[in-house]
Amino acid sequence: MALLEVEHLDVRFPLRHGEIRAVRDVSFALERGERLGVVGESGAGKSALAFSLLKLLSRPGYIAGGHVRFEGRELTTLSDRQLRRIRGNRVAMIFQDPLTTLNPVLTIGRQMTESLKAHRRVSERRARAIALHKLRQVQVSSPEQRFEQYPHQLSGGLCQRVVIAIALLLDPDIIIADEPTTALDVTTQAEIIALLTQLCDKHNVGLIVISHDLGVIGQLTQRLLVMYAGRIVEQGPTREIINDAQHPYTQGLINALPQMTLPRQRLAQIPGNMPSLARVPDGCAFHPRCRYRFTPQGRLRQACVEQVPEAVSSGGSQVACHWVRELITTVPIEEETT
């Protein structure tokens, strides 16, 4: 049994001018100690997915269907009271901007001991010892001094380390990190990536990283989900996807990176724009931007326009694309020319 199992998850936001379906039919599993990445552009539904796992969706968002199981226990039906035992305790979250995560009027030490005491019956002294130990674990220099300081006295990188230390306080099984390095400078980002990798390996913590940055995801994760318009279009080993993306959207995303083109040459761009989640095209959501919606003979593939593609296995990945399915089922590998 996987540590976390998500099945056919469906998240909706009923709004005045119609319902937004932020997450559609998403299924995946996370093993103990595994580092999983979720990549997609803004509006792909990746943050809604992360928040729905712990029922942290802000109103009017709600889970319209599907299951989230943590160690086999269904989370979607739990009450807030029951969920509180899991949030922060067994599953911790790290957000994008450490300065908004931390309370500006409390010292670092106070914030750390406070969350410890909320979940466990520990003495002040014991709480302090645990907190200092965690600060050392995330390589904060002179932890005793930091303990008395306020967030504004620390740099962004140090604050993010403190946030990670707080996430680790109760020895969680899963850490969900929503864009953990986006607000940081490159040199600090590299340190945080190294730190998270090392912590997950050492303590066997499962990590879910949400990011739009394929470079960060590529370094930090072992497995990857690619989201487009609320659905997972491709999932598989990170290395495999970055080296040999199967879904046309993933290919487009990777080829659009400046690193993929010689300097001063035009970048490969995906035509068109990401659809709004309120108006997702029928069939495959990506089809209006996809060049493979036409057969080599120039005919429109009806399936792309009419049918939502189901995931098929291709190599080590699961790909939701009619074109890939056609390639696998009809064209022998040697004749593959596209």
Partner: protein
């Protein structure tokens, strides 16, 4: 001897081979606590008015040649945006000179600036805040044209706006829409079109693609490169993203705490970074290939640039720093491959 004189003696008065923009000894200091109340400090013996200042730009020398795409790269707070604003005249320098096409521009008043405004334009990071929410796309584009060409007829301005929209890939039918009705990428296209509306020769772009998604970023970078080729533009491009720099730049200036530590042609710099900070930056930038590369760990976080310390600005974090680096501020050294490095260790040959 001031700069104009030195150019004269070299026999290179303002001509096409001379740099378009020349910056010499530029400094910008900001008061940490503006106002009269906060700077009071009550020390043990003395009560005094200590105005703490941030040295955002600390002695920058820079030439931008015509046709260059000069990228300034550095971490947040290194002074790269301040440098761009100083060159554009949006901020007044505390010290130093900025010359544009042979003329000194850093002490001009608003009226004297006007002819230069037509020649140099700026694009900002966030089109949400740089576009006027109460103007339609067409009004946004026509306003600067009307301002700089008061004699033009209404229809001429109208056609010019149409041509601009076509140039940057905006549907002409969108002319009557407001900025909030468009996506982030489309808004950035309008910001670019507005900058191009007065037909400038020099464009300053402050993080123009940082707020955009990967696929939109590719579109905007292509647009910027296409317009550069079509209109023979010169760019000053501010960014923190090294992948963007490597792709876009012909020359690169690496900034750290208000000073330029390395300045070189893009291929030279990326092939072999010399300054320890450039190395750290390059090593830390996430790459798709060689996934297990160990980042060069810098010692702790940078101290805030409140006072200018003696010595090298990078010494606190530099793995190669020695006693001389504590004491003496390194001067820029021009190496054989044309790059400029300000580092004692490189000068002494302590690091390759």
């Amino acid at each position: 001897m001031n700069l104009a004189d030195s150019l004269q003696t070299l026999g290179r008065a303002a001509d096409v081979s001379a740099p378009l923009v020349t910056v010499r000894g530029l400094h910008k200091r900001f008061a940490l606590h503006p106002g009269r109340l906060l700077p009071w400090r009550f020390d043990k013996r003395r009560r005094g008015w200590h105005r703490q200042r941030i040295h955002a730009v600390n002695g920058v020398d820079l030439d931008i040649q015509r046709g260059d795409a000069l990228c300034v790269v550095g971490e947040s707070g290194c002074g790269k945006s301040t440098l761009a604003r100083l060159i554009m005249g949006l901020l007044t320098a505390s010290e130093g000179e900025v010359h544009y096409d042979g003329q000194r521009v850093d002490r001009l008043d608003a009226k004297q600036w006007r002819p230069f405004r037509r020649r140099m334009q700026m694009i900002f990071q966030n089109p949400d805040s740089s576009l006027n929410p109460r103007l339609t796309v067409r009004q946004t584009l026509e306003e600067p044209i009307r301002f700089h060409h008061p004699a033009w007829s209404h229809s001429k301005i109208h056609h010019r706006a149409d041509a601009l929209m076509a140039d940057v890939g905006i549907d002409i039918g969108w002319g009557e829409r407001f900025a909030h009705e468009l996506s982030g990428g489309q808004r950035q296209r309008i910001a670019i079109a507005r900058a191009l509306s007065v037909d400038p020769e020099f464009l300053v772009a402050d993080e123009p693609v940082s707020a955009l998604d990967v696929s939109v970023q590719a579109q905007i970078m292509n647009l910027l490169m296409d317009t550069q080729a079509e209109r023979r533009l010169t760019y000053l491009f501010i960014t923190h993203d090294l992948a963007v720099v490597e792709h876009f730049a012909t020359r690169v200036a690496v900034m750290y705490r208000g000073t330029i530590c390395e300045l070189a042609d893009a291929d030279t710099l990326f092939a072999q970074p010399r300054h320890p900070y450039t190395r750290a930056l390059l090593a830390a930038s996430p790459r798709l290939e060689d996934i297990d590369a160990e980042p060069l760990r810098l010692s702790d976080d940078a101290p805030p640039p409140i006072e200018t310390p003696s010595g090298c600005v990078f010494r606190e974090r530099c793995p190669y720093a020695n006693a001389r680096c504590q004491r003496e501020t390194p001067t820029a050294l021009v190496l054989r491959d044309g790059r400029r490095v300000a580092c004692h260790a490189v000068e002494e040959g302590r690091i390759p």
